[in-house]
Symmetry: C2
Subunit: 320 residues, 2 copies
């Protein structure tokens, strides 16, 4: 149906190679010829078939972006920033969702491999070993995970956790519940490590949990029963779930229990009480990841972005 390079060649009376050059190396073709070709192309509504082009050039000018759960509000800002950055460098970004399933993740990577110039792997659920193997097929940049030999963009979760813990300690909290995320999560591990290394605090761990509102909701009653006066949650969604679960039991936040999340997503700002949280530089991470992917030079570069504590209404002094 659609016009091909041959149609354009026929109509403009030149060889296909000339048409090809008109688009991919205009300076090699005579201005007069060029405009004739362009006229014909315009006439026929011709657009080069990018898939076919990729076959010989090996470049698609497409990037893949894989996330575990697109309905987590943490990702959209990252995605949008990545798309904008890519667009500025003449690439397109295609997003795929793995449903938190490692098998789907692998499958998607394999499918994407030959159709894109590189993949942004955000918060992967795959094992490091498998990621390293798959990296032979397609360039990766990994976000929120450190993988040997691959460029990665990390958010300084440890620093964020420290900020949060200090804030809580400053408010007089000593027994703190750590509500972690899914099993394979690097972020979760970082948080746990920091918490464990903090002096003078009494940590109670809960997890692994689904990194969603319902994950938080499900664990709320256990948290309430643990005697903790404050909660450090894997992310804002979980924090909101915990708050809701606590409310169902008549426990007020922050009056009786303080809750702090991670990410700084919109629903947290809209919530009453407004959520105290550790803001992740998601947009910056998206931009940075695209940059790392496109400058193939930066082999195993690792970029770490700082986080910031945003104190709102869900944390307060410990009950005495």
């Amino acid at each position: 149906m659609a016009a091909t390079i041959k149609d354009v060649a026929r109509v403009s009376g030149v060889h296909v190679s000339t048409v090809s050059r008109t688009f991919s190396a205009p300076h090699l073709v005579n201005p007069a010829t060029r405009s004739r070709v362009l006229a014909a192309a315009d006439d026929l509504g011709y657009r080069p078939n990018r898939a076919a082009r990729a076959l010989t050039t090996g470049r698609t000018f497409n990037l893949g972006l894989i996330v575990a759960d697109i309905s987590n509000p943490f990702f959209p800002p990252l995605i949008k920033a990545a798309q904008a950055q890519a667009r500025g460098r003449d690439h397109h970004v295609f997003v795929a969702d793995t449903d938190e399933d490692p098998r789907v993740e692998e499958e998607l990577i394999r499918t994407l491999a030959k159709q894109v110039d590189g993949v942004l792997l955000c918060s992967p659920r795959l094992s490091n070993k498998l990621i390293e193997r798959l990296a032979e097929d397609v360039p990766f940049v990994v976000v929120n995970r450190r993988v040997r030999g691959l460029p990665s963009v990390l958010m300084n979760v440890a620093q964020g956790a420290r900020l949060a813990l200090d804030h809580l300690a400053g408010l007089g909290h000593r027994r703190i519940a750590l509500v972690s995320g899914p099993a394979g999560s690097w972020t979760s591990n970082e948080m746990r490590a920091v918490a464990a290394a903090t002096e003078g605090l009494d940590l109670v761990g809960f997890g692994p949990n689904q990194p969603t509102e319902s994950g938080g909701l499900a664990v709320a009653s256990e948290v309430a029963a643990s005697g903790a006066t404050a909660v450090l949650a894997y992310n804002d969604l979980v924090a909101l779930g915990v708050i809701e679960g606590l409310a169902e039991q008549g426990i007020g936040v922050p009056d009786q229990i303080s809750v702090i999340g991670f990410d700084d997503i919109l629903p947290g700002r809209l919530n009453r009480p407004k959520l105290t949280t550790v803001a992740m530089p998601a947009a910056a991470a998206g931009r940075m990841a695209v940059d790392l992917l496109l400058q193939s030079g930066g082999e195993g570069a690792t970029v770490t972005l700082e986080t910031a504590l945003i104190v709102r209404e869900s944390t307060g002094r410990a009950q005495t």
Copy 2:
């Protein structure tokens, strides 16, 4: 780097066509040969290049899904449902975000065209005419818009608006603010049409607005000044923005003004007051759209899905 069909052919000592058939038409090749080929393929880690295959077959087993703004929580459920449905039919879905920009939308469609078997166009910002033209390049299913000759999935916005208006009227509201969405939106038009046709109500229109929280926030003071006792918002995000803007002026919801949104997104459920809203069957729409796309038979089929009113806390009796 990666193994190609030729490598497999060489290693297993057969012609490339035999290798090809081993994968795409196994019954045509002798079991003994087949297993030899499969062994070699496995050995080399060979995976057929889908882009190359698409060149001859014309089928990619990929679907594109285009949305105006991926950070609108309305879309993720639709996206996930579409992905799940597509996965069940052996296809993958790639998502792209247009940033509410028609030019980007067109560009994305053109790019996607040759790399997918069809495109799900959700809440397009493009003109009908342009969509019809682009439909010559790639099969479409349009969501939330009716386009001549193209299959589409609609949510019954008119019915939803009627539900909402009746609900408000039943609570004694007579002067109602209609906070609409972006200019090109079909949904917005439907709402306006229903509102205009409703007897006994005093409508005040505001718009067009950004379909986001800040869009609602920006218009809140005007709404407050209009003397309306209730607000029907383009979507939940806008509704939440209006509520926030009202709160900044010390106006309570639902005590002084009632607010009702569309979509039934998560932040609305989490908000205090919990948002009364018209629930859209987003997941069903995603599934349906994939089905329509894959059964090429259904030429210009149009499916309309019903909506439901969910009364929560943001609506109450009109102040007397």
